[in-house]
Every structure is written in C-alpha cells, then in structure tokens.
C-alpha cells in the first residue's frame, strides 16, 4: 500500500458529514444524557450530573435479566447462523438444479412482512398444534410450551432469530463464494482432494472477509435484538418478561416511561460491551492476516 496521505478523507467526506450530523451528534447527546439525573427531555432540566442512572439500572432486576438474556442470545445466534448459512451457501453455489429458484427463496425473509413472519412462527411454536411439537412427538418428546413458559421463551427466540438472520448471511456468502476462482476448485479436482479439505483450504479462506463481516455484523445486530422479540411475542417481551432484551428495555424506558437518562445509560453500557468485543475480534483477525 502506498504512503499515508490526507486524500482518503476527501473520499470519506460525504459519508462522514452525514454520519457526523445524524449519528455522532445524537450519540454524544445520548452519552451526556446518561449522566444527568432525572433528565427532562422537554425542558432540559435535571437534578444533577452523576452516576445515578447507572446505579439505578444495575439495581433494576429487569435490566440484569435483559443483559443476561442478550448475552445468551448472542452466544447462540451468531455462530449457529453463520455455520448453517455457510453450509447452505456452499450447497447453493455447487452445481445444482433450480439454483435460481433456491436462491430466490432463501432471500424471501428479507421482503416478507414482520407481522406475517411473527404469526407463522407463532404457529410453528404453538404448544397444541404447532409444527415443531409435532416433529418432536415423532421422537417421543412431549409437547413443549415454547411461547408460554418462562423457561422456553428465550430458546424459541433464539431458534427464530437464527432462521431470520440466515437470509442475510447466505446472501453475503453467496456473493463472496462467486468471487473465488473456479481454477482453484479445478486444480483441487485434478489432485482429487477430499471435499472437506477443499472446504477448509479453499472455500473458507476465500470468503474469509465475508465471514468476518458476517460475524461482526451478526454480533452487533444480535446485541441490538428488538424486532424479533416484538414479532414473536406480539409486541411484548415474552411471558413475564422472560425474553426481555437490552434494546427492548431501552425502548420501554425511553418511549413508555420517559426515563431518558436511564435509557441512555443502558444504551451506553450496551455500546461499551459491543465495542469491547469488536476491538477484541478485530485484533484477533488482524493478527491472522
């Protein structure tokens, strides 16, 4: 790469200006809000500048619950979605019939209405006549109250979210796979290299940047999970709040309870966690490269 110059900023300027005004500035405001006790958004009054909001949310059992739920959710959803999407993308990219039809179908969740998706999954998870329980009954597993018990609400959300985030991952992986040179595969075929080796030696490194992208984006989006909860539990956060997440918590504090300081404090905490993880991820992959 060439030597450093300021020219990069010329190319960045249009994007940076928009981001500065409409993202960074509101972010800084939110950050400041998080230190203001009893902040009133309308008249700008507050009791004092301190850590009261942070203390409050960490003493709030709903927040702790939301935080642990979100953590568990991320750990399951991100790797599962990437692994499954990778398998499907590789299959779609191999020489199969109806390739176009399959590709179109796997893209559909992206355009289907969230309400429809929520209803259908409600039906899949239904304890009495749901598809999933019927499937499980073939293996002798008793019907599980997926959406109505505190115990299974989070697992249901995780299954649903893995399905939902796959559409995007598949799309990205496919775009990546198609940039891998056919020659590499041909060479492997001549050497009759086993398939799994081809997968690990050619495919995975070939779309390495896409996997790393999907991982970072998946993690960021998983930490921000809100729509999935809303769709699956019809606008609520699960039975007795058992599928509450940090962003659901923030949204409720902000819009329903007008507790702007606490909502901002929760957002800052979320921000710090994801930022920390992203930095770790970037240093790890950075060393590999």
């Amino acid at each position: 790469m060439e030597k450093k110059s300021m020219k990069g900023y010329l190319y960045l300027a249009p994007a940076l200006i928009i981001i500065l005004i409409f993202t960074i500035y509101p972010l800084i405001r939110a950050f400041m809000l998080s230190f203001m006790e009893d902040y009133n958004l309308v008249n700008g009054s507050y009791k004092g500048i301190n850590l009261e909001n942070y203390i409050d949310i960490f003493q709030d059992r709903h927040f702790i619950k939301a935080l642990t739920n979100t953590g568990i959710y991320v750990v399951f959803v991100v790797p599962c979605s990437i692994a499954l999407s990778l398998i499907i993308a590789v299959l779609l990219n191999s020489h199969i019939r109806f390739q176009g039809v399959f590709q179109t179908i796997f893209f559909l969740p992206y355009v289907t209405s969230t309400i429809a998706i929520g209803i259908v999954w409600g039906w899949i998870f239904n304890s009495d006549y749901g598809l999933l329980n019927q499937l499980l009954s073939w293996f002798g597993i008793k019907s599980i109250p997926w959406l109505t018990s505190k115990q299974y609400a989070l697992p249901s959300l995780i299954i649903f979210s893995i399905w939902k985030s796959m559409a995007f991952d598949i799309l990205i992986f496919l775009a990546g796979l198609q940039t891998i040179s056919e020659d590499l595969y041909n060479a492997a075929r001549v050497d009759s290299t086993p398939r799994w080796r081809v997968f690990w030696r050619i495919t995975v490194p070939g779309i390495g940047p896409m996997i790393s992208y999907a991982f970072v984006m998946g993690m960021i989006n998983a930490f921000k999970v809100y729509n999935e909860v809303y769709a699956l539990f019809r606008g609520k956060n699960g039975p007795a709040g058992s599928a509450n997440t940090v962003v659901f918590y923030i949204y409720d504090k902000f819009y329903n309870q007008s507790k702007y300081g606490e909502a901002s404090a929760a957002a800052v905490i979320l921000f710090l966690i994801v930022l920390g993880l992203t930095i770790i991820q970037r240093t790890l992959t950075g060393k590999k490269e």
Binding site: N40, L41, V42, N43, D60, H62, G122, F125, N126, S127, L147, T148, S149, K150, R234, N237, P239, A240, G241, D252, Y255, N256, Q257, S258, K259
Partner: protein, 412 residues
Amino acid sequence: MSFRKTGAAILALVMAASLPVAAFAEEEKTIEPTEVTFWHGMSNTQEQVLTELTDRFNEENEYGITVKLVNQGNYGDLSTKLTASAVADELPDLAQAYNNWLTAYTDKIVPLDEFVENDFDDYEDLVEGYRAECEQLGFIGALPFNKSTYVYFYNKTMFDELGLEAPKTWEDMLAVGEKFMEEKEMPAFGVDDLAGFLEASLAQNECEYASDEGALFDNEAGLETLEYIMGLYNNGYARLIGEDDYFSSVISTQRIGGYIGSSTGVSYITADDFELGVAPLPTNKKAAANQAGTNIVMFAQDENQQAATWEYMKYLTSTEATTEWAMKTGYLPVRVSAFESDEYQSFMADDITATAAYSQVDAFFPAAMFEASNAVRTSVNTMFEEVVLDELEPEDALAEFVQIINEECDVE
C-alpha cells in the same frame, strides 16, 4: 417534587399570566379566522366519523375556523410524535392523549380552568370519572373525547347451556369459573389489561392501589383481593393471553367463556356461531370499573389560536356531537345528558355493549396517576404474568406486587 404540587404551581403561574384572557372573556367574543391542527390516532370508521364531525364544524362555525385533522398512526406513534414535538416546541394546537404520555411536558399543556369557567355550558354534565381524569394534573388539563370502559364479554350460548348467569360479584366469578372448569374444562375469564384488572379489583374491595408513596395495598383488603385473583388463576378459572393475540380472537373461536376488555373491542369479536353477552364488571364491597380511551389536550400558544381550539373542543364535547360520535363508533358519550338523550337511549336498547357500559357509569374511575405510574404499569403487567405462571400463594403474590411497585417508586 410531586406531580400534583408541580401541577398546582404551574396552574398558579398560568392563572397569573392569563388574567387578561379572563377579563377579555367578559366582552363579546371575537376570533380571527384561523387554522387549528388536531393530531389524532383514529383509523377506519373512527377516522371517517371524526372527519364528518370536523367537516361540519368547519362549515358551520361562525368565526371561520378550519380544523385540520392529522392522523399520526396508532397511539404508540402518536405518543412518540408528541414527545418529539414537545422537545422541538412544535406541538399541534390540539391532540388526543392519555395523561401518562404528558408527564415530561405538563408545562406545555394549556390549563382549561379559565375556559371552562367562562365559556362552557355545563361542566358537571361531563361524566364524573372522566372529569376526575382530566383534572389529574392538578388543573383541568383536557376534555374527555373517545372514552370507553372495561366490560365482561361472554359466550351467552355456553352460559345458557350451563344454566349460568353473568357474574355480578366476586363469588359469582369463582362459581362461574368452577362450573366452566368442571363442565367444559375451559377457563371462563381472560383479562386484556392485567394491571388495570388488579387496580379495579382493589378498588372493588375498597382498597387503594398506588401513589408516590408506593404500593398502598399491603393490608388485609389487599390480601383479600389477591386471594380472589389468585383463586381465579391458580384454579384455571382464568388464563393469560399466552399464544393468542387478543382475547377477542379467543372468544370468537369459542375457546374461553368470556373476557374483560375495552367496550370498543366488541367490533373485533366475531360471534357467528354463538350469542354474545355483555355484562358490567363484577363488584365486591363496591362497584368500580376502569375507564379507558384518550382525552383531547390543548397546546395552542397564542390567544386567538387557543380561542379557536376551544371552540372546536366545545363542539366535540357537545351533547349532539358526542352522541353522534358514540353511536357511530362504539365509544361512549362523554356527557350524562348524551347518555340520557332519547337518541342514545333508543340506540342503547339494541346495543348490549353500550347498555352494560352505561350501567356502571357511576363506578368509572381513572387509572392512578403519579410520577412512576408508567413504570409501575409495565412492571405490574410483567409481575402479574410471573405470579400466575409461578402459581404463587396470595400472600407471596401480594408481597411481590408490593415490592416491585415500591422499587419503581423508590420507596424502601
């Protein structure tokens, strides 16, 4: 500072500031032609009727006032938009709102005390419960508009089959629940608004709910109420909404004996294969029924705009307009004289929902309003599901409710 105190202080300030208006009202009224913006969250039929009423006002008013209706989505959207606009100081002249949306910007509300005193035909004619709600901020902050109440919708065909009458008391509730469980293995009750149900049940047992001082039902009456509620749920007489979306769907598909919900919800019940019955809420020591629906709140800033807005508010709450509104939308009239009008009486003769609603009009009460009331509402709803799912004993359920409310109110 408590809510009421803030309200009173603001009222004093505003009264001082608006003295010229009072003097002015004595003279002959003149309003310059102007446009009044009204933000609402009504859709479908409701929006059509509102448009009809408003068109008529625009044509007939003598001052050349034009009211511009602006639909801002559903209540959630409207509330968000109002908050954002309050921050930007871009509020409309008039908007539909619940009191608890306004907690962050009560100082932007135009107190209506002066207007009511000088230029309103009969304030006492407004339903008492509604008036109480409009005065919750410590001054008259609104006029009632699209009001409703909670009633018990039930499957009359099933009730007849089991030889049952609609429950009138708590004892009846438990008896009906037991019979349904024995004969049909089906719950007889569901509740759309759990926190509202707790509040109403406490009121029916002459027990207070909550205030800035925290939970007020950590006592004998409170325990009796929880014994009743947990008796309904722990025995399977009542169920949570669970996998369904609204109880109106559950009753439509005949999977429940009945449910307690807003009287306007009747339009979402499809009673094709059974007869629908509607009853007032059960009573215990006394009658108490939640009222629901929004009020109209004035934010108009200059004097002329306020006067014009007030004309429209008077019009919407007039006996004629509120009667027509109620008959065409299924909401309730806001005036006693409207309920008693021949027109509405003959409408009610064929409308079982309106009849049931009207029969408890003296028992209407507004939801408690205090600084943490929104947070308490959210937490109580969650806790209600929790105590039901965990099948807690009444004592433990009571303790949980009290604790969570006190936490939200910052009371030890």
